[in-house]
Amino acid sequence: MTEAAAALNPAPSKLILTVNNIEVIYDHVILVLKGVSLEVPEGGIVALLGANGAGKSTTLKSISNLLRAERGEVTKGSIHFEGNQVDRLTPNDLVKQGVVQVMEGRHCFEHLTIEDNLLTGAYTRKDGRTAVQQDLDMVYNYFPRLRERRLSLAGYTSGGEQQMCAIGRALMSRPKMILLDEPSMGLAPQLVEEIFEIVKKLNETEGVSFLLAEQNTNVALRYADYGYILENGRVVLDGEAATLRDNEDVKEFYLGVSSAGRKSFRDVKHYKRRKRWLA
């Protein structure tokens, strides 16, 4: 696949998504994002890292436009997908254009079978039954476990299977880009690894770009090409994944390793309060 090969070495100018200095306000009063900018190259995997409440999910939701349903609003800045401004579109239009979000906490349709779950993912497609059936096979090939459980209700499957189901469901819309929110949530380390392996494989063979929000910095930085670190609604640091992994501050705050050896928790907190990264 030449397309995928090209995607592996993206030219710096070929961006699939650009988020330009967006500000998000919930309920007209709560300022959550205070100017976040980021870029995703075509065929790249970009990680969005940060602690609880840093604004990772909000960033993803403002891209997929699920924000309005939660009474949030992008008040400043702009979002472009493949060069077109998309921040006024409905989620439905956006999926048609090729951006789909896998929500935090899986959100499978519990009372539908795994197969029906996957088929709902193809709702926006107009290219006929056979094409959908082919993609269903493709998803089953990526997630053999889903094939085994295709007739069980999604609500009765395990957390890992539900996460696979959610990713598979998103794939069924034939996306160019998947926004993946906390794929590791509540999963055993081994499963997290398995999920990320599949993400990498999808990225390489299907050419799907990924923007993923993660708290598990360690895993995310191993699989992503580039990372952004969010704190209190701002990007405080960004860089190539490898560079970030070697950054002293990232090591200390997010990976739990420090060059100075073990420290008392009190010292760490003190240190963190004094020295903040600024955007």
């Binding site: 997929s64 699920l66 349903a69 939660e70 409905t90 989620p91 439905n92 956006l94 999926v95 048609k96 789909v100 979000q101 896998v102 929500m103 959100h107 499978c108 349709f109 519990e110 009372h111 539908l112 029906d116 779950n117 088929l119 709902t120 993912g121 709702y123 926006t124 209700l153 609500g155 009765y156 959610a166 469901r169 998103a170 069924m172 819309s173």
Partner: protein, 339 residues
């Protein structure tokens, strides 16, 4: 079809006649002890059939509830007034001199417009609010439709006659002396109900929109995230509920006249839903049959014990018992809870 489904069907096939026979013997025993009770097998069966057919009429109303509950998790309090509104509109058009088939088609379109209006003005601003808020808004819709229908078409009691035969018939003369008395109108209602259920079941399970409807029912947000447009889905489901309300309105209207009390038959749909489960279309039918037949049987054979008129409350008692032991109903989706 797996083993448990076969076991289920087998259970019903044996269980239902067994329960009916046991009830019969119980009533027979009661009659032999106390002279104020009367029992005869043909009479028992006649009452049972009349009850079942009456139950189908309840099911028709309950179906509308199930549709909306399934797709949006909202208990639509306004279903009763939708029945009334649809029936009033239909009568209005017939009074203008239109043939009933044309009036039916126009009324169906009107119900679709009502659905669009409800989605635009009520549901859309309330996306992702707790269900209780949506439920409250349907109470508002109830009063609006109720008043609006009567403002448009007047509040007189009207006759709706689309030519369904109402003559009683006698069947099974060879089996019983004098045969069994069955109301042919109720029989027609049963066929209409069956047709409606089959159509809806096919729609829900084998079409793209039907699958999307079930998805929306489970999780609004997730459905949005994969590009299912909620507004389209809601318009579709409220339209479907509107058409079901129209059918129910026609059947009830031609049976009992089109008047305000039509809006209140929705109350009889409640125990039906509790028995059958709020999310199951077959459940609405079976629930209706059980409620209809048991309240008729209770009225006729147990009535003297309480001094009569137990038909009005028996269904609710039955529902209460069900709530205690099987809150999701006979066919309701199991409340899935992973531990």
């Amino acid at each position: 079809m797996n083993a448990s489904a076969i076991r289920n069907i087998g259970g019903w096939a044996i269980g239902v006649p067994l329960v009916i026979a046991l009830l019969g013997f119980a009533f027979q025993g009661l009659a032999s002890f106390n002279s104020s009770f009367f029992f005869a097998w043909p009479y028992f069966i006649e009452v049972l059939i009349a009850g079942l057919l009456q139950g189908v009429m309840y099911s028709l109303v309950a179906l509308g509830f199930v549709l909306i509950f399934k797709a949006s998790g909202i208990f639509n309090f306004a279903q009763g007034s939708m029945v009334l509104f649809a029936a009033l509109t239909m009568v209005g058009f017939i009074e203008m001199g239109l043939h009933w088939t044309i009036a039916f088609a126009i009324t169906a379109v009107v119900m679709a417009l009502v659905a669009v209006g409800i989605e635009r003005l009520v549901l859309r601003p309330l996306v992702n609010q707790p269900h209780i808020i949506l439920f409250m808004s349907t109470i508002g819709i109830f009063y609006f439709l109720d008043g609006f229908g009567q403002t448009l078409w007047g509040s007189d009691i009207k006759v709706l006659d689309i030519g369904i035969p109402k003559t009683p018939m006698f069947v099974g003369k060879g089996m019983f002396e004098g045969g069994l008395l069955i109301n042919s109108f109720d029989l027609v209602a049963a066929f209409v109900g069956a047709a409606l259920v089959i159509a809806l079941a096919v729609f829900f399970h084998y079409t793209r929109i039907g699958r999307a409807l079930r998805a929306v029912a489970d999780d609004h947000q997730a459905a949005m995230s994969i590009g299912i447009p909620l507004k389209t889905i809601w318009v579709v489901v409220w339209t479907a509920a509107g058409v079901v309300a129209l059918v129910a309105g026609i059947m009830w209207g031609s049976k009992a006249g089109v008047q305000f009390s039509l809006a209140l038959i929705a109350l009889k749909a409640l125990p039906v839903l509790i028995l059958g489960g709020f999310t199951s279309i077959p459940g609405a039918i079976v629930g209706g049959l059980i409620i209809g037949s048991s309240e008729q049987l209770a009225e006729v054979f147990l009535g003297p014990l309480f001094g009569g008129a137990i038909q009005d409350w028996f269904a609710y008692m039955l529902a209460l018992v069900f709530l205690l032991f099987r809150p999701q109903g006979l066919f309701g989706e199991k409340i899935i809870e992973r531990i």
